[in-house]
Symmetry: C2
Subunit: 873 residues, 2 copies
């Protein structure tokens, strides 16, 4: 016979804290507390297995009901009360409890066991008629709502009518007689609504309540919650049937919730609130304002002392901050629940650090206590949690943090306003590489279109700058320099605040707070470094970003994009000259002008990364990205540069592509215009040699993008090695440098064995690999991808979290095949996924050597890499 | 000791015809003919293995030279002449000969063994001093050119000077003394050019000649040829050293080449030409005009009779049409070469058919004798082979056949001119779906841009219409209605001829001939059907194309694109109304107008394919393809439809995509606008039920495009089955129908096991799969892909011939994973590759059930499928 029911009471439980999967979190906690000798009202837990069995054909599995009756009998013996008795009735609460907490998602029924007869017994035994009828009406209300489906508001309406008629203002004004009258009205309402009288048989009540809890596992709310939180559908919920204890039996009773440490700051202080003479739901409902837990010391010093003892016991037992619920019935303390408490990132860091220092947990545990997903909060300015505000629109939270500034609509305006000392928010339909300067100058960026990996999002994250994208509710009129949301109009120069962590757009200025990267956080990260196997590098294109990333713990650069450098200052003119060249000779002449800039950039980056490897990707985007697109912009460039309008326009048309993502870019440029890549390799190697002569330890890794066929790499590697050898000979110096490739096309992964012949490293460009593998343009997917995620087709935006089932197969294949050819092949990831904890976990699993991410994600990656290593152990 | 040298002579050879890999084609042929008792001058063959060994370090492998000397001794004994003798010198030819014929790619030296002394012996033994010195000067010329690298023209210049000085007009006017004098001048030239005297040592001559042949395997010409013809670099060439026989010893001598059947028509007639008193190279050089072989009967009846006997013997021995070379020396016939003769498609069919009927070959062999690549020639009008013309430009031969017509520059003009009975060629920069009507009306299409799978190319091939794309030399001025090529201007209305088989653009009208699908060809195809395992379906969107394809042997439709139907006639108005709709209700209203058209189309196609399955793909392209793109076109549509310009423009901007290939299309439309697919399924199933009631056997296969995640298919399959059941219930009929998907994204192939849960068939859309796997837009690749193919990065345009190493892996993975989930999964291919023989071979190998291709490629596919099956046996 399968055991479906586990009893606890009298200091002994059939299960314990390790039975979370079977008994649910709440049930396991109750059992564990019972075994610890902590005062818990007795009761029993019906297992999650019973729930799963019940789900199949909506009947109890064999033996479950019999075991329930047995447990109920034991409960009666323990409490010395009787279920359904007219004299000293046993009342129970029936609560759900899944493996993991799903707050508010499933149903709870209190005071079960009351009917027209037992209520009288309760009045007698408690010597409190008002309490008895108040409890009965609460039970009818709750049971009818949860089990019978009668709307809660209909009951509330009846209470209001009585209050109005009697001139009461508070529920506490109602007398025993008032509640008695209302109980009759409630029962009439139930009969009217359901066609049946309110069940008087306490056994039927219990059965219906158990069924309701079981069924609540599959209600729409719970399903949605599970989908969002990735909880499997087949876990099921346990049912906890517990003897009722009453916090509402007078001023020697009460109820409260508390945390063993401060969940907001992590400070080691008992933190929480309580209500005298109240039941648990009163705290939640907010009808009365609870008091801080410290005041309990004054009101019930004995209870408070006992509570302190319990929380210390619980913390030292669970070795984690606990979230507890308790009730005091006539001066006697009962614990109703204990579980690990939710906490802010700040608190998580502080608690983990303190508990390690207190000797409560080891380093590994301390590291595992800080969720990588959460710590991003600690790395950006935030809206002051004390501020109240309402948002006017919501977009995608593309890059976290918050920013306040005056609205501008063009990158040029952003730059000129910022130059005058104004803080600005750049608001655009979408951004393009030409906007880089303006994005840099702005405090934050807000776009109407684009997804989580649109240009604006990627660049902003790279800059660690707050950004909201795809905010479809705003309509921008660039000419009039206004945007509208519904009937709100925001003009150029108006202040707005944007919250890149939530996607909220707020009118006016909201106060921000600068978060600190505390010493404790830094220490926990250094512990994480002891455990992680994955290296953590950064994606950085400038000496400044490189320094920031290094301060955050980056161990090198995994992706330095050379094209961003092409836009800065005057150099764009030389780049355009190169693009407009009609012969190789003209092109070489223009490239010669670009080279000194590139060389200087590389020198700066090499110096910033002294001692660490720097992976530099040769030119990747199609050339048309460097030419203005609209006739107006062409005219502007024509005016400024003296290049005739027609020449620019013709080149634009010539370079136009239907699908630039799949066009003439990456190594295809290097193959058709070898002189471009050649110039870049000269610049890299000359820079490397020059800084090496200054004593900098430099490890250049030259990366060829968009390779699809090994012959592409073979040709370009030949050129790279030739140029590198020439430069090193010229400087009379020998450097260790690597030549490798991005794996960002499915074909590259499929033929990684061939490609590895010519590559010393692979860097998985999972942004583009996702685009090609899924056939999904990240710039265009905003029209349907959110809908896809909503419908659960993809659980997460595959540009945010790596699509392990699809793209992941190619990454794994690339690693395996590549290492088959070259066992010491260095492998890493440099897509946006390099900063996503779930993706980092995958990278660890398939054995990559490193991940690379935005500077501001480096701490997240360090922590996630440690989690991956520790969880795999 | 490895045997490197194989002797033949005196009716016996050490090797035979099966030794092609070792002796090369020529050597094996000479050995085989010798063994057959056919008169062949004696000689020996140095093996390809020796060549490969030599390539490694440019020295002969051990024993090769000793074996050569031995064979040379045997040759002296056989010919009763002596190499280097002053009295009766042995002269030899030294020729290359690889496994497969590489015409003109490698080097040949004749008359080797002559020097200042032996030439006197030759004069004596031949009793012909002029012949001897003519031979000597030929030898110096050839040897110096091939071995010593002296330019041929320098020798010719010396000859011209003598002729000019003496007032001769022909080479034959030169006397023995003239040649003697020239020999001295030639030797002086060699000394001057090379710094060394012309080698007089005959052994040195032989050694140098052998080296030159070996080295010729690696000259640039040969390398390029091998690359183009996919011949491995490590095959090597054999060297044939053969006793010279002379066709230039007077009027009882001569030389000729002949085919055992007519290589142009296939008629069973001895076909060729000969020259009296000439050496082989005179025939090739075209200095004298050869006479038809039939005249040999008059001139040398004995020799002709002997030749007839030889050719019959060779044909019955080789069981194939032979291409032979012979020389008559003083009335004695020598065969110098035999090999399978190249032939036109027409001849290939006729010869294979005849030989089967003659009992010479079996059916399998007959089928294998007709190359699938070639038969496409037989299916389109061609330029009359007798016509002489010069082309003004050359583009990519996108769709074979030829067309003559008057130039028009817009689809509208094409339609209106055609309506007036004019034959037109539509000339455009590129075509778009809106041009379909005009393309249909035109005789042929010429575009300035685009690649082999651009819109124009794909649609034209689908229509079986002649098309040239990517003809970059033409510059179109649509406004002025002219195009220019250099300084040639072609105006609207001018006649041009285009050859879609070669890519040539010709001014004016050139005569065309209509090829016939002869009874013999049809019969050979029916034999092919007996052997092939692959089904052959067609890609067709209209009843007309379906009928054509069926006549060509298609066994169903593998891809019926529903979107082409959206453009015809008035329906585009309803489609645009649907796209402009702002609510689902409006969209449904517009769709209701489209449905009757779709239904009628499907009925027509079902009827045309009575008894065969019809795979219908639901709407695939992004909606913006149905909206005009330029402001001018928008204005036109606005005027015609009454829809305001601004509304159209706004919708165009709203639907604009950066990478439409990776955008909101395929099943993504079906997911976000379910009503569109729903309408299509209603139309399909209603059409099917209605024709079924008329007695048509109908097997609809509903295909969901662009699936990347199984949940997409799960959702859309649910809808499809629901609608199908509803329709069948309504008509009171049960039809067998399938629901399946395109596999055209890498992710679909990677997760084919999941997708097969919901798919009864997979159709590999290898066009899109190639685009995504290689990250290559077929519309944009024209700027670099030709260069890639030229550089050998891809051996063939991957849109023309399936990239087996990359895309092929995904196809194979898709089949394997799909069948693991669903063993009876039907699999096919419907990309352009379905009509490409190499790709069909691959499809057979991985076990697909069918290929689907343009109607006009169906015969090619039938034949290729048979070849694949027979070659695998």
């Amino acid at each position: 016979m399968v055991k479906y029911v586990y009893f606890f009471g009298n200091g002994k439980a059939e299960g314990d804290g390790s039975d979370k999967n079977l008994l649910g979190g709440k049930g396991a906690g109750l059992a564990e507390m019972t075994n610890l000798g902590i005062p818990v009202p007795p009761g029993f837990t019906i297992t999650t297995e019973a729930c799963i069995a019940y789900q199949k054909n909506k009947t109890y599995p064999e033996g479950m009901w019999e075991q329930t009756l047995e447990a109920l009998k034991k409960l009666e013996e323990t409490t010395k009360k009787k279920f359904g008795s007219n004299e000293n009735p046993l009342l129970v609460s029936v609560r759900s409890g899944a493996r993991v907490s799903m707050p508010g998602m499933m149903d709870t029924i209190l005071n079960l066991g009351l009917n027209d007869e037992t209520v009288k017994g309760l009045a007698t035994s408690s010597n409190n008629e008002r309490f008895a009828y108040d409890s009965y009406r609460r039970f009818i209300q709750m049971f009818s709502n949860v089990v019978l489906g009668v709307e809660h508001s209909k009951f509330e309406k009846l209470i209001s009518e009585v209050k109005k008629g009697k001139g009461y203002s508070l529920d506490t004004d109602l007398t025993a007689e008032d509640w008695k009258g209302l109980v009759e009205k409630f029962k009439a309402l139930v009969l009217n609504e359901t066609g049946k009288p309110f069940p008087q048989d306490v056994m039927e009540q219990l059965k219906l309540a158990i069924n309701a809890v079981f069924d609540s596992w599959d209600n729409q709310r719970a399903k949605t919650y599970r989908k969002i939180n990735k909880i499997p559908d087949d876990w099921g919920t346990a049912v906890n049937v517990v003897a009722m204890v009453f916090g509402n039996m007078g001023n020697d009773s009460g109820t409260g919730v508390a945390f063993t440490r401060n969940p907001s700051t992590g400070e080691k202080e008992f933190f929480g609130e309580f209500l005298i003479n109240a039941q648990g739901e009163d705290v939640v409902a907010g009808i009365r304002t609870p008091e801080p837990i410290a005041r309990l010391k004054d009101e019930m010093p004995g209870v408070f002392a006992q509570l302190e003892e319990v929380y210390k016991k619980l913390e030292s037992h669970y070795k984690d901050m606990q979230d507890i619920e308790f009730t005091v019935e006539k001066g006697v303390l009962y614990m109703l629940q204990t579980r690990s408490g939710k906490r802010t990132a700040r608190a998580a860091v502080k608690i983990a650090y303190d508990m390690y220092k207190e000797g409560l947990i080891d380093k590994k545990t301390a590291v595992l206590r800080v969720a990588p997903e959460q710590v991003d909060q600690l790395l950006h300015p935030m809206i002051d949690p004390k501020e109240k505000y309402t948002s006017i629109a919501k977009g995608l939270p593309a890059s976290p943090g918050a920013a306040v500034g005056r609205v501008v609509f063009t990158a040029d305006d952003a730059e000129s306003w910022a130059a005058k000392g104004e803080k600005v928010i750049l608001v655009r339909d979408e951004t393009s590489p030409e906007d880089i300067g303006g994005m840099h100058a702005a405090e934050g960026i807000l776009t109407a279109t684009g997804g989580m990996t649109s240009h604006a999002a990627v660049v902003a994250r790279g800059m660690g700058k707050c950004c909201i994208v795809g905010c479809g509710a705003i309509h921008i009129d660039e000419e009039e320099k206004v945007f509208t949301v519904g009937n709100i109009t925001v003009k150029e120069g108006d202040y707005i605040t944007i919250n890149g962590s939530t996607g909220e757009v707020i009118l006016g200025k909201v106060k921000l707070v600068e978060p600190e990267l505390s010493g404790e956080f830094a220490e926990i990260l250094s512990w994480a470094d002891e455990f992680r196997k994955l290296g953590v590098r950064t994606n950085s294109d400038t000496p400044h970003d490189s320094k920031v990333a290094r301060e955050f713990g980056a161990e090198g650069i995994g992706l330095c994009r050379t094209e961003h450098m092409f836009f800065e200052g005057d150099r764009i003119d030389a780049v355009r000259e190169m693009i407009l060249a009609n012969t190789e000779e003209e092109r070489r002449k223009a490239l010669a002008k670009v080279k000194p800039y590139q060389k200087e950039d590389f020198k700066g980056i090499f110096k910033a990364m002294d001692g660490f490897p720097v992976t530099i990707r040769l030119l990747d985007p199609p050339l048309h990205e460097f030419i203005p697109h609209t006739d107006e912009d062409i005219q502007k460039v024509a005016n400024a540069s003296g290049i005739p309008f027609d020449v620019l326009k013709k080149k634009r048309d010539e370079l136009h592509e239907f699908n630039p993502m799949l066009g003439h870019r990456g190594c295809r440029l290097g193959i058709t215009f070898p002189e471009i890549y050649e110039m870049q390799v000269y610049a890299i190697m000359e820079a490397a040699c020059e800084v090496a002569k200054e004593g900098v330890k430099v490890y250049p890794e030259i990366m060829i993008p968009l390779v699809g066929h090994y012959k592409e790499l073979e040709m370009l590697r030949e050129m790279t090695v030739r140029v590198a050898d020439e430069v090193m000979k010229q400087y009379g110096i020998t450097l260790k440098y690597l030549v490798g490739t991005m794996i960002e096309l499915p074909r590259a992964a499929l033929t990684a064995d061939e490609i590895a012949q010519y590559a010393e490293f692979f860097s998985f460009g999972t942004n583009d690999l996702t685009q090609t593998t899924l056939g999904l343009s990240r710039d265009d997917s905003g029209k349907f991808l959110p809908f896809y995620v909503e419908k659960g087709i993809y659980k997460e935006d595959p540009f945010v979290s790596l699509d392990v089932n699809g793209v992941g197969q190619l990454v794994e294949m690339g690693v395996t095949k590549g290492r088959k050819t070259r066992p010491d092949l260095k492998t890493g990831i440099c897509g946006e996924h390099g900063g996503d904890p779930a993706s980092i976990f995958f990278c660890h699993k398939v054995g990559l050597n490193y991940v690379s991410c935005s500077p501001y994600r480096v701490p997240v990656a360090r922590l996630a890499a440690a989690h991956a290593a520790l969880k795999q152990q």
